[in-house]
Amino acid sequence: MSDASPPERSGSAAAALDALRARPRTRRVATLAAVVVGLGLATVHWVWLVVGGAMVGLTRGSLPRALLAGLLFGALALAVSLGPFGFDPSAVLALAPAGYVWLGAGLVLPTFGALARGLG
C-alpha cells in the first residue's frame, strides 16, 4: 500500500495538470499566476527562481517547451531586477564576477526548475 499511494497522488496531480494544459484559457491564467507568484517570491530567495521555473514549466505541453518557458521566465526575472538600474544591464554586467552570477542564476535556475515538467 505504501508503494501505491504516491503514484496515486502523483497521478491525480498529473491528471489535473493535463486538464489545465488542455484548456488554453486556463493554461494562460495558470502561466500568468506562476509568473507573478514566482517573481514575487524570487524577491525573497533565489530558490523561488527554481520553483518559479518549475511552475511555469509545468503549464507547458512538453519538456522542451517547458525548458523554453523556464528560460523566458528567467529572462523576465533578469529584466524586472534591472528596474532600479533603469533597465540597463551594462552596469550590472560590468560588475564581474557578480554580474555573471546574476546573469547565470537568472537564466539557469528557472530553466533547471522547468525540468520539473519531466515529472509529469
Binding site: 524577491t43 526575472a77 533578469l78 552570477v101 520539473a116 515529472l119
Partner: protein
C-alpha cells in the same frame, strides 16, 4: 519499477538534490548575494526613502545638480540628524570602512588581507583614543549634535538600502555610534601627523657619517620661501626668541636599544602615504580687483572612489555653512559661511615621539616589564581577539607604557620594539572646534575656535571680509632633556624619562600644560598675502615645530607667482586664483633641465629629439607635452641612480632616501653623484630614451591619467573610476601624483565678494549605480570647477525629516 518511474524519481532527485546542494555549497553564498531580485548586493539600487521620522524636529534635504545636499532646518539637531541620514545614504560603506580600519576590525569584513592592518591598529588602540575624545567633548554642542547625527545615520541603516559593497563582500554594517565619528576624526589626525620618521632618522644617523646626514637630512631647505617669509606683511606671532637651546641631534643622542631599520620599514607600511600635503593661499583686499580678500585651497590626499571628501550645505537660522567633510564627521571641516572661508594644510609639526626601553621578563609574545625612572613596571596589557572572515581568528596582546602604545615586530628573528607618544592618543576636542568654525562670525571667533583644535597640527588659513588670519593649530609638545628644550627628532630613552611631555595623558584627558602656548605658535594677522604648501613654517620659530617639511617647490612657486602679480600691480581675481591652482610648472625641471642640456655631449644621438623638446620646454607638466613625458621618465631614473647604490650598501631601502630638494640642489661634484653629476644625468637620460623608444607613449598625458580606484576595485574593476588624462606632478601646485592616484582631493576658490567654486575628484554619491558616482571627475582632471553656492535649490526637497522636537 518501470523505467518511466525510475526516470521520474531520478529527475525529482536531481531537482531536489541539486537545489539543496546548491544552497549548501559556496555557490549558495554567491546566489544569496548576486541572484536577480533577491541578491542583497542589488539592494543598493533601491531608492533612498524620501521621508524619515526624526526625534529632533523637521528638516529638508534638497540635492543640487552635483548631488550636494542642501539641508534646511529650524534647529541644529534636526539639521545634523538629516546630515547623518544623507551621509549614510551616500557614503555608508566608506564610513564603515574607516571605522573598521581604525578600530582594527577590517579582517572581520575582508578576511586575511586585513589582518596585518588590524594588528597594528589594535596595538595603537585608536579606538581608545576616540573614546577619550568623546569624553573630552561631553557637555558640548558638538557632542549633542554628534548624537543627533548618529541617530540620522542609524535611521538610514534601518530604512535605506544597504551599500553594494556590503552585498559584494557579504558582511553586515553595524549601527553607528558617536565614538565612530570621533574615530573618523582620529583617522584624519593620524593621516596628517602620524609618522615613524623619527625612527628612520635615528637609523640614518646611525648609518651615515655626520656630514652626509647633515647635508641630506639635517640642513634646512634653502628655497627661501617659508610660509612666514619676508615681505608678506602683517603682524607675526610665534617667531623669534628661540626656546630651543640644543642643536639638532647627532647619533649619540639616540637611544636604539631594541629598535632599528627593520622595525622602521615594517612600521612604514602603516604610516600615512608619503606626499600627503596641501596648498592654500590668500590675498588681502588691498591686492584684489574687488577689494575683498580671497582664498584658494586644495588638500592633497590619496584619491579614492568614492572621494575622501563629502560636500554639504547646512542652513539653520543665522548659520549658513557650505564645505567639505570626511564622511562620518557631521560638520564641514573646510569651506565657507556668511562671514568667512577657511581651509587647512598640514604643518608637518612633530607631535609623535618614540621611546626605547630596557625590558625584562616574558609575557606571551613579548616582555612583561619595562624600566622607567629607576624601577621596573609591568606593561599595561590586554589580549584581544581579531576576528577574520573566512579565516582563523588571531589574538593580539596590546601593550602600553606610561607614554602610550608599545609596538613590537619580529625582524630577522629578533624582536624590535618602540614606545609611542602621539598627541592624538589623548582626549582631544577637534570635533568641537570644527563645529565652531562653521558658526564663526569672523577672524576673532575663528581664532577662539582654533584654540580647541588639539589635533591635528595644521596651517589654518581664514579670510573674512576684512582680512586674513594664518595660524598654526594643534598641540605641539615641548621636550626637555637635562632641562633644555630640544626638537623631537630623536628616539628618546623612555627608561630615563627623557623628552617626556608634561601634561599629557594618553587615553585620558590631558592638561597640555607643557605644550607650546597658543600665542607662541607661528602665525600672522592681516598679511598682504600668505601661501602655504607644507613647507617650513618659519626660519626662526619660537619653539621647534617639525622635522619633516615638504621640499618647498609648490610653496616657492605659489610665492613667486603671488609676488610677481602684486609687484606688477595687477589686481588678483577669482580667475587668477583658479589659474594659479592649475599651475603645473615643475621647479625640479627648471633646476635640472639646464644641467641636462649642459651634459648633452655625453648623451646618445637617440636622445636628440627629447633634448630638443627639453630645450624648448616651459617646464610645465602638461598632458600634451613630450618634454614633460621625457622629464618624468628621466627623473625617477636619475633619483635611483643617485641614491640606490649608496643606500643599499648601508642596508637601507627606498623609504630612507632623501627628499627631492637635496637631489635637485646638491653640488654637481657631490660624492653621491660619484663626483660627476653630468655622468649620472647622461646615464639617466640614456635609460629614459631607451624606455620611451620602446613603448607607445608620446605625450605626458599618455601616462598621467587618473588612477582613482575603489577599495574593492582589485576584485571588481568596474567600481574603479574611469581614466582621464590630466596635468601636474607631486611637486606642482596642480597636484597629481602616485600614478595620478593621489593629489588635490578638494579644490576651492573663494572670493569673499563673489561666488565660490569647488570640485572633488569623483562624485558625491558613493553608489556605483548613481549618475553622481564620478560626475565631477572630468572637471577635476581638467582643472575646472562647479559653483559652490550657499543657497538652497528651488526644487522640491528630496528627503523630508518629519517629527516633533
Amino acid at each position: 519499477m518501470d523505467r518511466e518511474t525510475t526516470r521520474r524519481r531520478a529527475l525529482a532527485a536531481l531537482l531536489g538534490g541539486g537545489t539543496a546542494a546548491l544552497g549548501a555549497s559556496s555557490a549558495g553564498g554567491l546566489l544569496d548575494r548576486f541572484a536577480p531580485l533577491s541578491g542583497r548586493a542589488w539592494e543598493s539600487g533601491g531608492d533612498v526613502p524620501d521621508t524619515v521620522e526624526g526625534p529632533y524636529g523637521p528638516a529638508t534635504v534638497t540635492y543640487d545638480d552635483h548631488h550636494v545636499p542642501h539641508v534646511e532646518a529650524d534647529s541644529e539637531a534636526a539639521a545634523y540628524f538629516a546630515v547623518g541620514y544623507v551621509q549614510a545614504a551616500d557614503r555608508l560603506f566608506q564610513m564603515d570602512l574607516i571605522r573598521r580600519l581604525m578600530g582594527g576590525r577590517l579582517a572581520a569584513a575582508v578576511g586575511e588581507q586585513g589582518v596585518e592592518s588590524d594588528l597594528f591598529h589594535r596595538r595603537m588602540d585608536f579606538r581608545g583614543a576616540a573614546e577619550a575624545s568623546w569624553e573630552a567633548i561631553q557637555g558640548s554642542e558638538s557632542a549633542t549634535l554628534t548624537a543627533a547625527f548618529t541617530d540620522g545615520v542609524n535611521a538610514f541603516l534601518d530604512a535605506g538600502p544597504a551599500p553594494l559593497e556590503a552585498g559584494l563582500v557579504g558582511y553586515d554594517i553595524d549601527a553607528w555610534d558617536p565614538v565612530d565619528t570621533l574615530l573618523v576624526g582620529t583617522q584624519i589626525a593620524w593621516g596628517l601627523t602620524g609618522s615613524f620618521g623619527t625612527l628612520r632618522r635615528a637609523v640614518l644617523r646611525e648609518r651615515l657619517d655626520g656630514d652626509d646626514y647633515e647635508r641630506l637630512f639635517g640642513a634646512r631647505f634653502d628655497h627661501g620661501a617659508p610660509i612666514l617669509k619676508d615681505g608678506i606683511g602683517g603682524d607675526l606671532e610665534g617667531v623669534g626668541g628661540s626656546q630651543a637651546t640644543r642643536a639638532a641631534p647627532d647619533g649619540s643622542d639616540d637611544t636604539l636599544r631594541s629598535a632599528g631599520a627593520g622595525l622602521a620599514s615594517a612600521l612604514a607600511a602603516h604610516e600615512p602615504p608619503d606626499l600627503w600635503g596641501s596648498n592654500h593661499w590668500a590675498v588681502s583686499g588691498e591686492h584684489t580687483e574687488s577689494g575683498a580678500p580671497t582664498l584658494a585651497y586644495d588638500p592633497h590626499l590619496t584619491l579614492m572612489a568614492p572621494p575622501v571628501w563629502y560636500e554639504q550645505h547646512v542652513t539653520v537660522g543665522d548659520v549658513n555653512v557650505r564645505g567639505a567633510t570626511f564622511p562620518g564627521i557631521p560638520f564641514a571641516i573646510v569651506g565657507e559661511n556668511d562671514h568667512g572661508a577657511w581651509g587647512f594644510t598640514n604643518t608637518g609639526a612633530d607631535v609623535m615621539d618614540l621611546y626605547d626601553y630596557e625590558t625584562r621578563g616574558t609575557d606571551g609574545d613579548g616582555p612583561s616589564e619595562y624600566r622607567y625612572r629607576g624601577e621596573y613596571r609591568e606593561f599595561e596589557t590586554e589580549v584581544q581577539t581579531v576576528p577574520v572572515a573566512g579565516g582563523e581568528n588571531r589574538e593580539v596582546t596590546v601593550r602600553k607604557t606610561v607614554h602610550g602604545p608599545y609596538l613590537e615586530r619580529e625582524v630577522n628573528g629578533e624582536s624590535q620594539a618602540v614606545g609611542v607618544a602621539w598627541t592624538g592618543h589623548s582626549g582631544t576636542r577637534e570635533s568641537q572646534a570644527i563645529y565652531e568654525f562653521g558658526r564663526s562670525t569672523g577672524r576673532d571667533d575663528y581664532r577662539e575656535a582654533l584654540r580647541k583644535m588639539d589635533v591635528p597640527t595644521q596651517n589654518a588659513l581664514y579670510v573674512d571680509d576684512d582680512g586674513i588670519l594664518y595660524k598654526v593649530s594643534g598641540r605641539i609638545p615641548v621636550r626637555r632633556v637635562d632641562g633644555e628644550v630640544v626638537p623631537g627628532d630623536r628616539v628618546f630613552d623612555g627608561s630615563a624619562g627623557e623628552g617626556e611631555w608634561e601634561g599629557f595623558e594618553p587615553f585620558g584627558q590631558s592638561s597640555w600644560d607643557g605644550f607650546v602656548p597658543f600665542e607662541d605658535k607661528p602665525g600672522v594677522v592681516d598679511p598682504d598675502y600668505v601661501g602655504t604648501a607644507n613647507q617650513r613654517v618659519a626660519d626662526d620659530p619660537t619653539y621647534p615645530v617639525g622635522q619633516g617639511y615638504a621640499s618647498g617647490f609648490r610653496g616657492a612657486r605659489i610665492y613667486e607667482r603671488l609676488e610677481a602679480r602684486i609687484e606688477r600691480g595687477d589686481p588678483v581675481t577669482r580667475e587668477w586664483m583658479a589659474n594659479l591652482q592649475r599651475d603645473h610648472l615643475d621647479i625640479r625641471a627648471r633646476e635640472l633641465v639646464p644641467a641636462i642640456l649642459d651634459a648633452r655631449e655625453q648623451m646618445p644621438d637617440a636622445a636628440d629629439p627629447y633634448l630638443d623638446a627639453l630645450a624648448d620646454w616651459d617646464y610645465r607638466m602638461n598632458r600634451d607635452s613630450e618634454a614633460a613625458l621625457f622629464f618624468d621618465e628621466f627623473y625617477d631614473r636619475f633619483r635611483a641612480k643617485t641614491w640606490e647604490d649608496d643606500f643599499s650598501s648601508m642596508g637601507l631601502d627606498e623609504s630612507f632616501w632623501p627628499q627631492e630638494w637635496p637631489l635637485v640642489t646638491l653640488p654637481p661634484d657631490d660624492e653621491f653623484f660619484g663626483g660627476d653629476r653630468a655622468t649620472v644625468l647622461a646615464e639617466a637620460v640614456a635609460d629614459a630614451v631607451a624606455e620611451l623608444d620602446g613603448n607607445d607613449e608620446e605625450r605626458y598625458g599618455d601616462r598621467n591619467r587618473t588612477t582613482i580606484d575603489h577599495q574593492f576595485g582589485g576584485q571588481v574593476p568596474a567600481l574603479n573610476y574611469p581614466r582621464y588624462e590630466t596635468d601636474g606632478t607631486a611637486f606642482t601646485v596642480f597636484n597629481v601624483h602616485d600614478g595620478a592616484g593621489a593629489g588635490s582631493s578638494w579644490r576651492q576658490v573663494t572670493p569673499r565678494d563673489g561666488e565660490s567654486l569647488s570640485v572633488i575628484p569623483g562624485g558625491q554619491d558613493g553608489s556605483y549605480f548613481s549618475e553622481h558616482y564620478h560626475d565631477q571627475l572630468q572637471l577635476w582632471a581638467d582643472g575646472e570647477y562647479k559653483p559652490m553656492r550657499r543657497t538652497v535649490p528651488d526644487d522640491d526637497p528630496d528627503v523630508r525629516v518629519e517629527g516633533e522636537e
